[in-house]
């Protein structure tokens, strides 16, 4: 029995069509708002919106490489969606193109008067012309800031930035499409030890390459928006956030594609869901661990170069988002996922996974947006612009993703893990009634 049933394919294509429609509407709203809110707000929103969908694609690639190296039944489950996510990387690269304009005086295209009279504006270096302030030659900064920026001029230069981003995409696309091509060979010619070895030869070094690329990319795309600030933990937070997002997406996709056609409540699926839920629990806790460690260390040292990052996010309205993250990105999913039954029930787990993805966006919003409005969260038309851009880019990416998902079925049929079982634990013997979904 081929598990690529017509029903599953229809479901994936239906999701794809819906997401494309929503995405296009979002993008249209965002572009029309460009004429109202100006190009500054547009580009700031675009960058903020871009990080989550791109992170999902990159996170899928990272998970794909990890499971090729680590093995385990969960890898058999997530392989197909992760390969689909990795195949969207060329489109993700195209979606980045408008952001290169952020290195030019792009704010002047559709100028709109922005008031920067917030008493907290000094918390970050601000440019009136460009998305990345360090790129602006007419930057008005104080002497001590100029010393620091001059010291890192070799790294933070326009050309080098472009080379790094293009290079990063070239590596990601190469690894993603390479692994996907090997999966096609596996589909047509069957699994072989040498094929597995080829996948591992890409994935093992690939993880190392990916970690180094993330160090540069997290610095470029996000950290350098606050060009004075630096944190050695930040690349880990940025890269791990992508993996967490991809795992949440995988849980949603697993449940959505099978819902209504397959018994999600049978013992095998319950074990798979338990494993996905455990990953989400562990990853949520690890996210909290790295995020809180960074905060604690910067708070306690209280250094002038570092602490403005948190000052900018702890006043003027941003403090509510900060608390919301603690509650929504950690406490709520943590408490829910602690319960074994919540992990095993599809109708609970998909809601938790969607909630985690929403919180991922909240986290990214929290990381990026205050760089432009430190210590001052102005909810208004610009927020609408943010949400429209996010809906646009996310919708289009989800559309692309589900179109790719629809192509090659639910499971890699020739993967030898097909004949293994998800691990059985003591807890699986405990039968709790009333688990119908």
């Amino acid at each position: 029995m081929s598990n690529l049933t017509v029903r599953v394919k229809e479901r994936a294509l239906k999701a794809s069509g819906l997401a494309f429609t929503v995405g296009l509407v979002g993008l249209l709203v965002s572009i029309s708002l460009l004429f109202v809110t100006g190009s500054q707000a547009f580009f700031q929103s675009y960058l903020t919106a871009y990080i989550l969908p791109s992170g999902l694609a990159i996170g899928c690639l990272a998970l794909l490489m990890i499971q090729h190296v680590s093995g385990g039944y969960w890898g058999y489950v997530v392989r197909r969606p992760c390969e689909a996510g990795a195949r969207t990387l060329p489109f993700v690269a195209i979606m980045f193109l408008p952001l290169f304009l952020g290195l030019t005086d792009v704010y002047k295209f559709f100028p709109k008067e922005h008031e920067h009279n917030s008493p907290e504006a000094h918390l970050n270096v601000h440019s009136d012309n460009r998305l990345w302030a360090w790129s602006d030659p007419d930057l008005e900064i104080e002497d001590h800031e100029k010393i620091v920026l001059d010291a890192k001029k070799g790294y933070l230069s326009d050309n080098f930035f472009i080379i790094r981003t293009v290079g990063a995409f070239a590596l990601w696309i190469g690894m993603g499409l390479g692994l996907s091509a090997l999966a096609r060979v596996e589909d047509s010619k069957g699994w072989s030890p040498s094929l597995k070895q080829s996948m591992q030869y890409i994935s093992g070094p690939g993880i190392v390459v990916h970690a180094l690329v993330i160090l540069l990319i997290s610095t470029d795309w996000s950290m350098s928006l606050q060009p004075i600030w630096y944190s050695t933990m930040y690349p880990v937070i940025f890269g791990f956030g992508q993996i967490l997002s991809a795992m949440a997406l995988n849980s949603i996709v697993f449940i959505y594609l099978r819902d209504g056609g397959e018994d999600l409540n049978d013992s095998r699926n319950r074990k798979i869901l338990r494993d996905l839920g455990s990953f989400l629990l562990g990853f949520t806790v690890f996210w909290t661990y790295i995020t809180f460690s960074q905060f604690l260390l910067i708070w306690s040292a209280n250094l002038k170069e570092e602490v403005p990052y948190y000052l900018a996010r702890s006043r003027g309205g941003w403090e509510y988002l900060t608390w919301a993250l603690g509650l929504g990105h950690f406490l709520i999913p943590f408490l829910v996922l602690l319960f074994r039954e919540a992990k095993r029930r599809a109708d609970v787990l998909w809601k938790v996974a969607v909630f985690i993805l929403v919180m991922r966006f909240a986290d990214i919003y929290w990381q990026i947006r205050p760089a432009f409005d430190p210590g001052h969260w102005d909810i208004g038309l610009e927020t609408v612009q943010d949400l429209a851009s996010f809906t646009g880019l996310m919708g289009i990416w989800i559309g692309l993703f589900f179109r790719e998902v629809s192509k090659y079925g639910l499971y890699p049929e020739n993967d030898p893990r097909k004949d293994t079982e998800p691990v059985h634990t003591v807890a699986d013997d405990v039968i709790i009634p009333n688990t119908a979904h």
């Binding site: 010393i147 010291a151 790294y155 160090l215 004075i228 604690l296 293994t420 079982e421």
Partner: protein, 466 residues
Amino acid sequence: MATKEVVKKEPDEESLFTGTYSFTTVTSKINDIVLGPTSKGWVFGFLASFMVLQALLMALTWLLYEGIGTWGVNVPVGWGFDIINFVWWIGIGHAGTLISAILLLFHQKWRTSINRFAEAMTLFAVACAGIYPLAHMGRPWFFYWLLPYPSTMQLWPQFRSPLIWDVFAVSTYLTVSLLFWYTGLIPDLSSMRDRAKNRWVRMIYGVLSLGWRGAATHWHRYETIYLLLAGLSTPLVLSVHTIVSFDFAVGNVPGWHATIFPPYFVAGAVFSGFAMVVTLAVPVRVIYGLKDFITDKHLDNMARVMLATGLMVFYGYGVEAFMAYYSGSPDEQGLFLKNRAFGPYGVFYWLLILCNGIIPQLLWFKFFRTNIPSLFAISIVINIGMWLERFVILMSLQRIPWQSSTWGQYSPTIWDITTYVGTFGLFFTLLFLFMRLVPMISAFEMKHMMPESHTHAPGTHAGDKH
């Protein structure tokens, strides 16, 4: 989907258990090491370790009599060998809980034959580590001042200091590791009781096995408590070394104040812990003829964990170097270049990169993971490298505090070195006692690994519970 009748094994599973054994011969093979006669080799090893332990006692006695001045620490370098060795030993103590708890939760079957050994190693390493902060207090008999108790002198610990968090983290870690280790021992202690010929030996193991009869309810409770302890231990793997890293990172000293320290210290701890397990497991499996239980596959898997955690540590060095440049701060850049990489201790930095960064890359190749002598050599190199890491982190900074008038150098005294050497005596004395007194491999868990345990449908027997 229908549940399959036979649980098929992962392709690699066979090689976790070699040789032909029945349930009985597995038990006797492992338990006879304890119940059999004392070998000359053991007596020699034990006495040698015990002699080295005397060096520790001598050094500590002298310390208590004369004071902390016998160590090389002084202004400006207040933290010397004591902290380096504390962190080194406690790092080694991380493999046990990782193997026991995290690998259990990840259903990694290969943990089975090495878990008890690694847990024992953890306890002994934590014991060695604990000596240093206690001794550094100068008046260790006042150690209880570190605890929040209602003192009439109104002494209260400084809760903002990670050094106080260390007290709680390390003591919790020790307690839970001990419970975990002991719980895992109970079924085997009872089989020792049943097999012992000597009445006294039988009584001692009988008391220690807490009335275990192997009833179904016993097993059910055992599996539940073991899983719960594993869950409790998991955050502890992270917490102890995270707080050790906070000891350095909460301050604002360039080079110590790096936000990546917590995960990077934890990875380093696991790295060194696995290296120590390999260093110990390689000779032990030869001497006691346990190659069928601790197979080449186990060593291969441990080598893979070493490679992965080693890469994380190396990544940490890379991020530190990159951010030192990217910070644009003359202090960070100057510290890294003039002090860490090319300063008076520069040679140690490059040795560290060699030991922890370059040489472990050999583990990418199957040859070095399966060639036991080379794996053994690499594990020792890693142990040295992780010691150098702590040395480099400690030394390259303290010697140049903010005021140049107070710059100075550090060199350990003979008593620093004696104390360090002496802790090896303590570690190996305890390890020899462990190998002689309790089964060093979990016999009942080994039986779950045997083919006979895998022929039933899932959920009907204990063999599936891993």
